[in-house]
């Protein structure tokens, strides 16, 4: 094995707190992702997922509640939108972009592409880009592959080709990486230093794992834990001067006490000075200018060796 392929996606050491700077001397970056997918599981959005009270709530009341709270706190978010939702929600997407939110792509129907051929995935990616562009009048800069509640893991699913295909298609960033808690470069080819900027995601700050998880009726409601996770992470990252990131779903967070909790939390954040709240694309552009991969992606020569009797 030539490098650390199959083990690591980036360089050996992340950027330390002391080396981190945000624009205009701001203290902490706050980045919000809103997932407009209603996919239950790896198959992506199905007819049953769309024709349900929860999906109806997500498209209307829940989304409106969430937007009202963001508006009240003057916060911008990046909306991860599967192509099918871009068709269904075309009118709402125009409202979102007018208010300064960003629309990013999230697959054709937010399906698991893990086992697709490269060509099949490439075609789906191109069609997704086309549909999202038609809906918003603007080519999406970012791509998300967020987890669904019934996925076996909580990180989102991609294939071994995804990052390379996103680079090929001209995407500026991948929206949900787990290898760091700040932007980092996801290397798709170590020899050629081909890399895509990746923004951080972590499921402990994603509402769907705490609100009737794994599914309504039998899942557990732990909204208080979600609040404490948000607050503990924000406080710690604010002290470090790093980045706080949260992921929201209108069908979950838009409801009653939950939306009040979001309101309270955003109000708490807003009470502190020095927050920089970029969209994903703005964060990615700042990062590439300030920490370009030519100087900041430090790919140490690998000392990995193959041995008989060991995994390669």
């Amino acid at each position: 094995m030539p490098w650390k392929d199959g083990y690591t996606i980036s360089d050996e050491i992340g950027l330390a707190d002391r080396d981190l700077r945000w624009p205009d001397g701001q203290r902490c970056c706050v980045s919000i992702t809103v997932d407009l997918s209603v996919a239950a599981g790896p198959a992506g959005i199905t007819a049953a997922d769309l024709a349900s009270p929860a999906a109806e709530f997500a498209r209307h009341d829940g989304l409106a509640q969430l937007l009202a709270v963001l508006r009240r706190h003057a916060l911008h978010a990046t909306f991860a939108v599967p192509a099918v939702m871009a068709r269904i929600l075309a009118d709402q997407l125009r409202v979102l972009t007018n208010e300064g939110h960003e629309i990013a792509a999230e697959g054709l129907r937010h399906e698991d592409v893990g086992a697709l051929s490269r060509q099949d995935e490439r075609e789906r990616l191109a069609l997704t880009t086309q549909i999202v562009t038609e809906a918003t009048g603007q080519r999406p800069a970012g791509w998300f592959s967020l987890p669904r509640q019934e996925d076996p893991f909580a990180g989102g699913t991609i294939s071994p080709h995804t990052i390379d295909l996103l680079l090929e298609a001209g995407y500026e960033y991948f929206g949900n990486g787990l290898a760091d808690d700040i932007p980092h470069y996801w290397v798709s080819d170590f020899a050629a230093r081909r890399a895509l900027l990746t923004l951080p995601y972590y499921y402990h700050f994603d509402d769907q794992f705490f609100l009737l998880f794994p599914r309504k009726g039998t899942g557990l409601e732990n909204a208080d834990m979600l609040f404490r996770n948000w607050k503990a992470e924000f406080d710690a990252q604010y002290r470090r001067g790093r980045l706080f990131h949260m992921t929201l779903h209108p069908q979950g967070i838009g409801w009653c006490n939950r939306v009040q909790m979001l309101d309270d939390f955003l109000g708490y954040m807003r009470s502190l000075p020095g927050l920089w709240n970029p969209t994903g694309a703005a964060c990615a552009r700042y990062w590439r200018e300030t920490y370009p991969e030519q100087t900041h992606l430090r790919l140490e020569p690998s000392i990995w060796q193959d041995y008989p009797g060991s995994l390669s």
């Binding site: 690591t8 360089d11 050491i13 972590y202 899942g219 992470e233 710690a236 060991s310």
Partner: protein
């Protein structure tokens, strides 16, 4: 039926016979409790071994890029030494972090070669030697402890003093591989309830979605503080298990910072490496042989 009960009784007795417990122990300097902060630095190796998908590996990678550095900073800020249980392969993935851990005076101990113990005896021996050599290259000395289920006879032949795996008693205890064999090793017990991954890692050990127990740091702080207090009163031992990809997240470093700071407000808390605790147990409460 009677035969079955006799057989079950025999099994329990044979298992008992493999254990020697320490009823009480006087810690150095009159300390009330010995605390081992232990780090399982497997990053993405276990995820890779279980053939999990790319995002799971990236989740583990956080431990090597970020988490291990934060844990080292945390220990340094409290002037406590920890034990880093390290798979040999990690020395090839994260040599800089491993050198920093060794420079910081932490104990570098074995956590298998690639987070598995091969069934084949020759390959098992090969993995143990490879790991020992990789760790020695980083730390300047061979490891004397392991968190693994390597064969005790093999460990003893290779000069290991202790294991840290399993929780048959609250105080350190001795385990013999087989009641007839003279291969008794000290075990420093760790309990899954004092293991960060049980509370903060989705799909830990293959758990299904409906069995997720992911929670927030305050709940875990309360549980672990209660465990510490109970052992402090009892004159006991606590082994806190941290994975860099789990505990290295900012919100949990902050929680551990509060926990260690609160432990330090009490007199007589001995923060030691596993090796220090092991050598003290071996010197003051040695196993009976024969």
């Amino acid at each position: 039926m009677t035969n079955e009960l006799a057989e079950l009784t025999r099994v329990a007795q044979a298992y008992d016979a493999r254990h020697q417990f320490i009823s009480s122990i006087a810690w150095p300097g009159g300390a009330r409790i010995a605390v081992n902060l232990t780090v399982d630095f497997d990053a993405m190796l276990l995820r890779r071994l279980m053939n999990e998908p790319p995002m799971q590996l990236a989740k583990g990678e956080f431990g090597g890029r970020v988490g291990i550095w934060r844990l080292l900073e945390l220990f340094e800020s409290h002037n406590v030494k920890a034990t880093i249980f390290t798979p040999g392969r990690i020395c090839e993935l994260y040599p800089q972090a491993m050198r920093a851990a060794a420079r910081g005076g932490h104990e570098i101990a074995d956590h298998m070669w690639e987070h598995r113990v091969p069934r084949d005896a020759a390959l098992e021996h090969d993995h143990l030697l490879k790991t020992a050599a990789a760790l020695q290259k980083i730390a300047g000395r061979r490891p004397v402890g392991t968190r693994s289920d390597h064969t005790r006879a093999l460990l003893q032949r290779e000069g290991f003093l202790y294991t840290s795996d399993g929780s048959a008693a609250q105080l350190p205890y001795y385990v013999t591989d087989d009641a007839t064999a003279d291969t008794t090793l000290l075990n420093l017990p760790f309990h899954y309830a004092i293991d960060d991954a049980m509370f903060f890692s989705f799909a830990w050990l293959g758990s299904g979605n409906a069995a997720q127990r992911i929670t927030d740091p305050e709940r875990v702080f309360d549980m672990w503080w209660a465990a510490f207090r109970q052992q402090y009163r009892a004159g006991g031992y606590l082994n806190v298990v941290m994975h860099p990809f789990v505990s290295g997240r900012a919100l949990r470093i902050a929680m551990l910072d509060r926990l260690i700071a609160k432990m330090k407000t009490l007199p007589g808390v001995w923060f030691a490496t596993c090796e220090e605790v092991a050598r003290h147990c071996l010197a003051t409460c040695p196993p009976r042989h024969g």
